[in-house]
Subunit: 339 residues, 4 copies
């Protein structure tokens, strides 16, 4: 059985500690953090776990590590772990640039190690169900997707709202569609802190013709976690704030009948039942960590592989670099509407 260590015990680390302790698939043997009181708290809660203030001492104890540190440190830590022959699970996003992410992917491949990114939503029952609906064809061809992930706070210290929140939606999009966008752009504003956007919008164009829009905000009075997937046969609304009906499948559509002899086109609206399927209540984080252990053991590719995580970073990078800045002026002045 694998011995696993956990690096980083800040905001998210304790959640990983809980599932590492809970699963029967591995031994949770070590944890590391620079702050002694964090180490103490975790080692007290999980008596079998040894705490390390220095990573150097931890490596020999573990076969695999989970990394839950600030984003800027992901690359160095993951690189060292892979170099030392350890399987690596890294919280999302995999790295702060796509070049660094790709380096990790290449290194893991070279060393025949599992590299996995913690895109937890890919293991949550509603996201998996929508994936199944898309794959099975019951939605028909997809027309477009629209995401809203907004609330008041929590501001991140090291990244803007795009890298903090849109990373979720982009990972869900890539998983659902099974393709990566050819183009994308973003538009946003830094309202509270200079130079760090707290509200942003993203547009993405996929090779299949599907388009997607993502709205993300740390400055919204209401919390929204809403996704609309519009297919030609059926449409799905996935609302993660709903306690019981997270997914609704609408048997709705519009059919176009080409003009007949008299030249008038016809549109037929179809309205059928709405179904909210029962979803199991398996815990995404536990499922994810168990997949990490299993892939480390068997060499299989995890759903949110390093390569997958690297593609997510590439999209984030693309919409960051290719942001809409409106440098050009409007054709003519718009007078008279300021009242």
């Amino acid at each position: 059985m694998f011995n696993v260590g956990l690096i980083g015990l800040g905001y998210w680390g304790p959640n990983l500690a809980r599932v590492l302790n809970q699963t029967q698939r591995c031994k949770f043997v070590a944890c590391a953090d620079l702050q002694p009181q964090r180490l103490e708290k975790i080692t007290r809660q999980y008596p079998g776990v040894q705490g390390f203030a220095s990573l150097a001492d931890m490596w020999e104890k573990v076969d695999a590590v989970a990394i839950a540190t600030p984003i800027s440190t992901h690359f160095d830590l993951a690189h060292e772990a892979l170099s030392r022959g350890k399987h690596v699970f890294v919280e999302k996003p995999l790295a702060h640039t796509s070049a660094k992410a790709q380096q990790l992917v290449d290194l893991a491949k070279r060393n025949k190690l599992t590299l996995m990114t913690g895109h937890t939503f890919l293991y949550s029952p509603p996201v998996i169900r929508v994936k199944e609906l898309i794959q099975s064809g019951v939605l028909g061809d997809l027309n477009y997707l629209s995401f809203s992930r907004v609330n008041l706070g929590l501001y991140q210290k090291d990244v803007d709202v795009l890298w903090d929140l849109a990373v979720h939606d982009i990972s869900i999009l890539l998983y659902w569609l099974g393709e990566t966008p050819t183009h994308g752009t973003s538009f946003g504003r830094a309202c509270v802190q200079r130079d760090k956007n707290d509200v942003a919008f993203i547009w993405l164009q996929f090779p299949s013709g599907v388009i997607a829009s993502i709205e993300i905000s740390w400055l919204s009075p209401q919390k929204m976690r809403r996704t609309c997937v519009a297919g030609t046969q059926r449409m799905v609304v996935y609302d993660d704030t709903e306690p019981n009906e997270k997914i609704k499948i609408y048997d709705r559509g519009v059919e176009f009948t080409a003009p007949q002899n008299f030249g008038e086109f016809q549109l037929t609206y179809r309205t059928g039942d709405i179904v909210s399927p029962h979803l199991g209540n398996s815990e995404p984080l536990l499922t994810e960590i168990e997949q990490f252990i299993e892939c480390s053991e068997t060499g299989a590719t995890p759903r949110s592989s390093g390569e997958f995580g690297s593609n997510v970073v590439r999209v984030l990078e693309m919409v960051t670099e290719n942001r809409t800045l409106f440098k050009g002026a409007m054709p003519e002045a718009l007078a008279g509407s300021r009242r």
Copy 2:
């Protein structure tokens, strides 16, 4: 008292007929349409109204006209009416190009006539209340606005979703902000009919720094009529699908405290009461028509003046022409995520 005629008795015309008959401010004396059965129905319902199959006979009976015909005919009809010295109320959008719209504005000015655009939302109690909240300063400075106006159908024959639905949101935006955007772009897809977008997204940049996003769709399973106005002091959600609580005012915000000696910035979240103000139930369409009559009589400028309507057309034109098409390719191929 003014004699008013109504041109166009299709989908929307009968609603104007109802309020023209209801108001005591004018005499509703004439209506015109090419289809005899429509004329018959209206003249039977309102015995004092004379029906005209040809406009030529109608002009001498009226001092003012309301035009509710297909968009492509707005310019010609309004131009003729203004040329003949009649005050003109035109349904939105004012014209199919901004140049044509401006021509109407200029002609009305030259002939000292009232030209008004039927942006009915500017006369609805919730939209007026939000305008008051913005003007009074209780929201603080505005950070951003986000609009969603989506549902299944109804497809328009002569315009795409942008000119059909976004015309409402743009009119509301210009009214609320009292400024017109310097830049804008749109992104969309023609899913059901070739070359006519049925889903689209708009981004707008305003001179004050405010940004706005608009989502519009004829292909959404759920109906949404939702607007979020995020100010620095308060935030407002205006949901027109709510029967009773169309507006909610959130006493919420985030304050930024610059780094002190130890270099850590501080964000303070403020959460107070939520107030849903009682709104009168005056009918927007009646208010609007009565403002048209009053301005025709007094020479005052209506809220949704021709100039205002022309600015709305200009923004529609700008985001249509300046649409995001993603002609360029992505920097590097994104391999491996198609599964």
Copy 3:
């Protein structure tokens, strides 16, 4: 084709006028009311209809009448009509006492005429759908039903909240269950007007073992039109305030396993999908009036027959007479909780 007259043009009458005019099944030829301006308005709107200030002149013009007058006049008007050989449709409740209602039923039978009560909800798509679900057995055996019909106003002048609002729920209950309660009681309070309850609660016991509770109020800040039907196999919530999902069918239940050798009983919870079936948008009032005409022609028994309406009145009477008044005192004084 039958000639039909309408008696009573107050609050509800104009709605009946609209569907009498709309249907092709009968000729709407006459209307009667004591107030001349009401007659004038209806006869102007429907040119083929003759107005009568006195009923005496109307009888010879009609084969059937619809009665929409105050409840206290239902009996006399229906009795006269039936005596003169006319088919009769009476708004709910059929009469102000069950004895009077039964007299009408008997008279109609004797004269071989159709007597129908205007329980419109029995013709509305969601109520019909729940009836089908119950009859088909997919809900299993019914355990209990709970109704809430509350809002602010509108106060009726001649009846209390029980006869005004609960009449709807009782008619729905009798229709769904196909049985009448053996026992019932009510509890309420006259808050605004002396001696007229504006809030009340009803408990009913049915022969099959099913129990039901009804909550009705003119004094509630939120409008509720909610019904829960709990079956052993499935449960249904019918919420008439929902624009799109009026019915939700829950595949949920609890199964009881009797104690095994170790003496512990077992309860198993079952949670499946939630389905909101698409309901047609036929208009209940039109369906109802067309059923009235058809039954008058064929002699068939309408769904909301006079007998059915009489049973509804009997239940209203039962819970009114058998109201819970708490004449006896509590066993011992309850001291000390007033603080």
Copy 4:
């Protein structure tokens, strides 16, 4: 500082353990349970706590105890603790009969000890806020209250739905109104288990004239935690399933104007703003336990005193004994509606 012990580590006990450990007001030193693995789990989690399989050994270590055992054991355990001079906190309901509850109240008084019942809702921010609104008079006089507390499961082994769920609503009612009902009755059905009601309704009459209805069910497909408080000046809806707007205050009412010379009464409806006040997020259980400690130290009377808890039991007993059973028959047979 007081030494506190916890008796009963089943479903609820661990929650008490958490707050006993969290508070700085007392020392959590001991816990007791018959099952060794429960003891082990708690003592491992809270190293300073000693586990006892037998109560006899525990008494000398503690000044006060919290009891979270099955209801039928409350009396014996609380009685022994009070007899030994310990302050006692008992989970609700205080005892299984009002006589036993009163015995505990008397014993605590005699021994000058604090006896407190764990009616946690009395310490939750929304319940406290409604109490303040009632006390301040802004709601005017109260007309009626309506409670719904329904969901699917969880069945209790030793009590029916009335003692399991209605205990919450009755405690809230007595706290809000500051009076105890003079009369009450209940009506229910045992659907799944013989002789144990899983759905029930309660009616209560208060001395001030206020009436209340409570609906409770273990067999409802939707979860409801809804309370409506209708006052003459304002109305409040408290919905505990709402994440953010648990309380809504409606500035609504109906005013009655007595008949003038022409004999027609007048009702005026008033509709104002809706306010959802911000509520603090203090934890009720922690507040409650800290009040227990403080009252034990100072001799003050806790909000949910033994006497208060005894009154709650008395009401539960009253509506259980005085249940509506419909022994008498209906006046006449109701034929014809079974179809």
